[in-house]
Symmetry: C2
Subunit: 319 residues, 2 copies
């Protein structure tokens, strides 16, 4: 079975680990990773979501934190502080820096982000084919109004420095309008037997991937069933601050509203948590098959069970 | 008193620490640092000699090693090995990487190496004005013949990877012929009250600085006395492998031969170690005032005593 999954960072990566545990060795998983949260720091290209997927599936992730490397050291961060070079709010450990150095050197040498990602994965062996959504630069910016006035900040600044404590007025994936899907992305979607939307952020992760011209259309046109898992349980994000960015796009932070926002033109099936069983009927009314199952990724086995439920729903809605 | 010193890496840096201990707070020291051993690694500009001077005088050097940072961690090096990205033979610690990241980011932003060096020194406060010999790229290459044939390797590869175990057939400071002295270099030489050649490598450190068009001429024309300290004691380099590169330029590895190679057109005074007292007469015969004093930089006080001897000789030869 050829499975395509769109993925953001922590939530997507953890779901993929469960998915890998749920499928067999003959199944092929292609992950289309969000690069809208990429940021240039110290002259280096940092791809937090791609790396979180790569480290998580490759066994290098800091488990408790969910991002960054295990057994990390922080010498560079300490030195940057001594040099007075920011941003202090972004946490890049020394091991993590090595990844960004290798990536940046390859990009400067002329390799595409797809090629670089493939090269990095030679080491990490994530067990999936990891593709960036695009080789072109896309950076999600967030419009906010604070004491400095109305302005756009990089998504990472909004998320990490401001902890999404200020209202997001608009989410703009800068560069997405002219970005092209990375090689293999549209082909993988077209050839997929199942397409999954893990419980990643529907706006700044899945939404950004879908904002690359051609990807949303390819998913909508794909013969494969498309099944999503709600990142919202009981009216709140399982982790992160998805409610803040949902508000910016006028979507309520409920499992039902997120499903309807994707819409039946895009998704065929939707999993909500058992806590949201009451919303199943409304989602089905909108033409999306819906089931309520436990959606807390408490461990790999619980997550694998979620993946099995998603794959089972895909079989039920297969056209 | 305005003192100008040309300096390479470890030997130069240690001498400068003694010089700082020997002079008063009203004395101004300008250091013209060798950049011929600079190397680009992982897309970053690494300036080993400038950094060794900066770290040594700023209190951040790894004392026993003589280069690199104290309390260093090596996470990036370990990661690079996992990624299969070389060179493995070059030791860049994580703290050291921070310096190269800041430098490279500033260079990419359009600052000159002089400006970057000044900015880095804001943190390190080395107590001297540290100028790179040039803002232009100069890289010392060494011609060797080994099982791979006759070829040129970067000086760092010759020095660090090959440990100078292969004969150096030629030393070529690539780019030096079109390099310009960095801003302030010629002015400092012209305005100096004393010019010192620390016991740095006469070929790949002092020699490379002098290879930048205009610097040798400025030193020769300077009204200030020029005094050098022999890096060779008893026919062998005090540290490093200066004999190997001296052979490449046809100079014997003796205190006397190094003095005569600089020549009386360039230097007015020369200090040899007491072990080389026998060579004093020959050096003086060549028109260079010469004294034999202990030249082992065993500690800061012994080194300060060397600096005092150099300054005293400068007074004696002042024209």
């Amino acid at each position: 079975m050829r499975i395509v999954a769109l993925a953001g960072g922590i939530g997507g990566a953890r779901f993929l680990r469960g998915l890998l545990a749920a499928v067999g060795p003959q199944d092929e998983i292609t992950v289309i990773g969000n690069t809208g949260d990429d940021i240039h720091l110290y002259g280096l290209k940092v791809c937090p979501d791609l790396d979180t997927v790569m480290y998580t599936l490759g066994g290098g992730i800091h488990e408790e934190q969910g991002w960054g490397r295990t057994d990390e050291t922080w010498s560079i961060k300490a030195e940057m502080k001594e040099y007075g070079v920011g941003p202090e709010w972004f946490g890049l450990g020394d091991r993590d820096f090595a990844t960004h150095l290798v990536r940046s050197q390859m990009l400067t040498a002329g390799y595409s982000l797809s090629q670089v990602t493939e090269a990095l994965c030679v080491r990490w062996k994530p067990g999936v084919r990891l593709l960036p959504m695009s080789d072109d630069r896309v950076e999600t910016h967030v419009r906010i109004t604070d004491e400095q006035g109305t302005r756009a900040v990089h998504f990472q600044e909004y998320w990490v420095r401001l902890h999404a404590a200020v209202d997001a007025e608009a989410i703009v994936p800068v560069g997405a309008d002219t970005a092209k899907p990375a090689p293999g992305v549209l082909e993988a979607i077209a050839a997929a037997d199942v397409i999954l939307f893990p419980p990643s952020n529907p706006v700044v992760s899945i939404g950004t991937i879908l904002a690359v011209p051609g990807i949303r259309e390819a998913v909508a046109a794909a013969p494969a069933p498309v099944v999503g898992l709600s990142p919202i349980i009981g009216g709140a994000p399982v982790r992160g601050m998805a409610d803040k960015v949902l508000a910016a796009v006028g979507v309520e932070a409920t499992a039902e509203a997120v499903a309807l926002n994707y819409g039946s033109a895009l998704i065929d099936g939707w999993l909500v948590d058992t806590a949201d069983e009451a919303s199943v009927a409304a989602v089905e009314e909108a033409g999306i098959a819906c089931r309520a199952v436990p959606l807390l990724m408490t461990d790999v086995e619980a997550t694998a069970e979620m993946a099995r439920a998603a794959l089972a729903l895909a079989e039920q809605v297969r056209r």
